[in-house]
Amino acid sequence: MDLWAWFFLTGGLFLGWSLGGNDGANIFGTAVGTRMVRFSTAAFIAGVFVTLGAALSGFGTAGNLGKLGSVGTLLGAFLIAVAAAYAVYWMNRRALPVSTSQTIVGAILGWNVFAGRGVDFGAFGQFLGAWVVTPFLSAALAIALYLPVRGLLRRVRLHLLTLDLLTRYALIAAGAFGAYSLGANNIANVVGVFVPLAGRIFRPLELPGGAVLDPVHQLLLLGGLAIAAGVYNSRRVMMTVGHDLARLNPLAAWVVVVAQSLVLLVFASQRFAQFVASLGLPPPPLVPVSSSQAVVGAVIGLGLLIPGGRVDWGLFGRVAAGWVLAPTTAAVLSLVALYVAQNVFNLPVLP
């Protein structure tokens, strides 16, 4: 067992925990905020599916080391992970939904500045795109989705109890799917950089029945569990998204989750764009979108549409400020941490 490797890994696990505490709100915030699903139920389902996504489908993304892979040294990756994790944790404490992905990019920008590699202004463009474009796209899509579904429901006139049960299952199904994707897509950022160290941290584990869990999968599982543990800490961010920003009804709660997934699919998926082009149709433009910003946009859009939606613009202002603050804080923290590690403790942080 390599204690240093374990120590470095804690940075990744801290990041996973913070990430779960914030991104849990994207998948179950509206369900919990509208009280269609209890927080304990949501956290349990999200925890299970996040872990499954990380352990079963995370290998492909974790194999490419994630965003921190570009850093080159483990200590550097550790410091950047802790800087990003702390920035997200701070946002969690303030109950603000932010983009963890952007926060990690922010922390890496700090490293770029420290390493004298200059600033990648393309990243700023992407941030601005996500902050400004995503909420509008998402709000428009949510409204476009909500109106026909509402019309259909008015026509069908289901009994309220049946409708609520169906909505609840739809929310749980969407949440489980979202949690699986969250685990699969984000595990690379959490433990990707430690994959080469997996053999120094874990030994192959024999499972009952003769199967063997190799060190890499144990690492992915541990990262998944860190995200899952974070989800149990996401209640306040969930309430901001699903209750405080605007008052949603159960149908709107579901539409927000679907609109968010559609925004990511339509405007961020290269495969989807290729598929549309292969049908001879004009492909949708690929723009930088973020699920946190998509959820907030959809909530605001529907909050404006629904009678009694009561959008809290003051809170939205704080959320938007959080979008800027989280990556900025991460950048400053990582810059300071790297500087202190190199110049005060004489530790090698650059490759």
Partner: protein, 216 residues
């Protein structure tokens, strides 16, 4: 999670809520008949039958209410809706209770209605009409949220009519030559019946709030 049993449990719950509301309507009909019988003939054999009938309707309603509460607590898991429906059912139950209490009060106290006998009949009809409209509003809450507003508007109108009748016969009562004790005794009956309409209106107001929360 097994879906089919949960859906069938919800279907049963829906049917039970409908049956529960049927009981409220039935209690209103028995109450109307009992008051009419009392005004026309006083407490005689048929009145005793109404006593038995309202007791049975109320008991069946209570059993259904408990069944609904148990089913909502243990078999369905939607916290928001559960609280709303349980509170609604509890409130609606008060209307059935008021019907029963009034029928018993006539039976036990046997008030001499004197100058307000026709007024009491009119008031009872207004109270039952208000409660019936409230039941329509409650049914609409489960099936057609947009119709609730119309029914609640009618509930408010009928409740206000009931209040007017109550005020009119109250004045008529206190302008009469009856003893003060008798006037106060009869005023209790006026208040008791008017309370049915008031409670129905309160439920209507509660329904309006529930609709705002859920309107899609």
């Amino acid at each position: 999670m097994k879906l089919t049993p949960l859906f069938s449990s919800v279907r049963q719950l829906e049917a039970e809520i409908d049956r529960y509301l049927d009981h409220v309507l039935e209690a209103g009909l028995v109450f109307s008949r009992a008051v009419e019988a009392y005004v026309r003939r006083g407490v005689e054999e048929t009145y005793a039958e109404y006593i038995a009938e309202i007791t049975q309707v109320e008991e069946e309603g209570d059993a259904l209410r408990r069944e609904i509460e148990t089913r909502m607590t243990f078999h369905t898991l939607i916290p928001e809706l559960r609280e709303d429906v349980l509170s609604l059912i509890e409130q609606v139950d008060q209307v059935t209770n008021r019907y029963e209490e009034s029928v018993y009060a006539f039976y036990v106290q046997r008030p001499a209605l004197g100058p307000i006998d026709e007024g009491i009949l009119e008031l009872a009809r207004a109270a039952v009409t208000t409660a019936e409209e409230m039941v329509k509003a409650a049914r609409a809450f489960f099936r057609d949220l947009h119709a609730v507003r119309d029914h609640v508007k009618k509930v408010q109108f009928f409740e206000s009519e009931a209040d007017k009748v109550a005020t009119r016969i109250g004045r008529q009562l206190f302008e009469s030559d009856l003893e003060l004790a008798q006037k106060l005794h009869l005023q209790q009956f006026i208040d008791r019946i008017d309370d049915i309409a008031d409670t129905s209106e309160d439920i209507g107001d509660e329904l309006s709030i529930l609709v705002i929360k859920r309107l899609v």
